[in-house]
Symmetry: C2
Subunit: 264 residues, 2 copies
């Protein structure tokens, strides 16, 4: 568990939790209370990478510049490390209540996490991704996969932080639109980087999607249109962010701009 | 997910949740409120069976009289079915709040489940079980494995039901002792049945522990002493049950007696 947690990565999801908590600025100690939830979402993300990399799934040997978990510890321990991280994430969410989150807020976060990381969300996206094959999957189906596999955990991160920050219902709804668009843009950028990125910066081999016959945005609509779509979705995300009327939207806005221009 | 959930089994864990909720008899609608938690613990149990049966783990072909999940749907889908059930279990626990459980009770149940099904509990027991080998593992280590791999989820079931039923702290502590003893007796009986049970009744091949070189109680202390230990642990469990001073302890007591004499 620690090997994969400490392998690094952008820590995008925990940063979104903390940034959303600070952006709302209505509840006290929001950043401190949000910390165990930020850790929880990184545990969920890390478990999903460990299981996705297994031989029975994507069969990847490298992740974040290091050998994948099962390459080091074997398949049985990799499966159990994933199960352990997934389960412990929910424990971590309950710790936010011990730090001062109202129990009904902590419980809403548990419910969001179970839904958005589960079968209606991330797990369902991974199932569809495994079934998705080049030449068969449509653009509509690919959007379904990306929204579940990537956007849903970003939506969770922003909603959880905002809940702890004391967001109103209209703010939560606008932030959900923000994170959905952001996640879609993020995943299309991932598709692009898998084709033209720098292996050293990415920490994994490029063109793996082509090798694994994964269906991607560049495969379906071409590189130029994929890049234009990332720009457009990022603009739409920032528009939704404006509609959330946050006290401090600057960090979330900067994250959206950074993701659009990242090279890893 | 449904294939494995509907494969049957004794439903011992959900029955313990409902029976514990009814045994305390302090909160209203306890049985109805406990139902989503009863479902949750069966989802957790079922996910653990699906993952344990995988080729990288115990590599079992039959479970509850049917081909194991990965034999029917392949390894990738079996891993994801397990991940989906594990995640959805936490969603199901949050539903108890929608039915009337106070949010702090539902949150305590989430915390218990994450701990007792996680690395300090069931997942940790499975890790130790995989490392345990005949001739190397001590009786002390075997007790550690059984307490985590089996007792902890029974402890969760009884505690969760009792929490919903409105149990006091001393009642929760006595019930925890009850379920630990009961779980240990249950697992030793499982070890015995793997050696001398009826394949048709068990729904899986006997002597699999011998084949897989699993360390068991009969292997370490012999059949006769194992059987005596099941009787003694069951008596100690019922003594703890008496100390809980429940309004209606009869069903829990009958479950303890049934488990001791079961043949599958």
């Amino acid at each position: 568990m620690m090997y994969s947690l400490e392998a690094g990565g952008k820590r995008l999801r925990p940063i979104l939790v903390l940034s959303a908590a600070e952006a709302v600025e209505r509840a006290e100690n929001a950043r401190k209370i949000a910390m165990p939830v930020a850790c929880a979402v990184e545990m969920i993300h890390t478990y999903s990478l460990i299981h996705d990399d297994l031989p029975a799934m994507d069969d990847d040997d490298f992740r974040r510049g290091k050998p994948t978990n099962h390459k080091v510890f074997g398949e049985a321990m990799a499966i159990l490390a994933g199960d352990g991280l997934l389960t412990h994430a929910f424990y971590s969410v309950t710790r936010s209540a011990a730090l001062g989150a109202p129990p009904e807020v902590a419980l809403a976060i548990v419910s969001d996490l179970a839904r958005l990381a589960g079968v209606p969300g991330m797990v369902g996206g991974q199932v569809a991704d495994i079934h998705g094959v080049q030449g068969v999957t449509s653009l509509e189906e690919l959007e379904y996969i990306h929204l579940r596999k990537t956007s849903d955990l970003l939506v969770f991160s922003v909603l959880a932080g905002a809940r702890i920050g004391g967001a109103t219902q209209p703010q939560l709804e606008a932030l959900q639109r923000f994170a959905r668009k952001l996640g879609l843009a993020f995943q299309i950028q991932d598709d692009i980087l898998d084709l033209v990125g720098d292996e050293a910066k990415l920490g994994k081999p490029v063109q793996s999607d082509v090798e694994e016959r994964k269906v991607t945005y560049p495969f379906l609509i071409g590189m130029e249109e994929s890049e234009a779509l990332v720009v457009r979705l990022t603009q739409e995300a920032k528009q939704a962010l404006d509609e959330a009327n946050l006290a401090q939207p600057d960090t979330l806005r900067a994250i959206a701009d950074y993701l659009m221009s990242r090279d890893h």
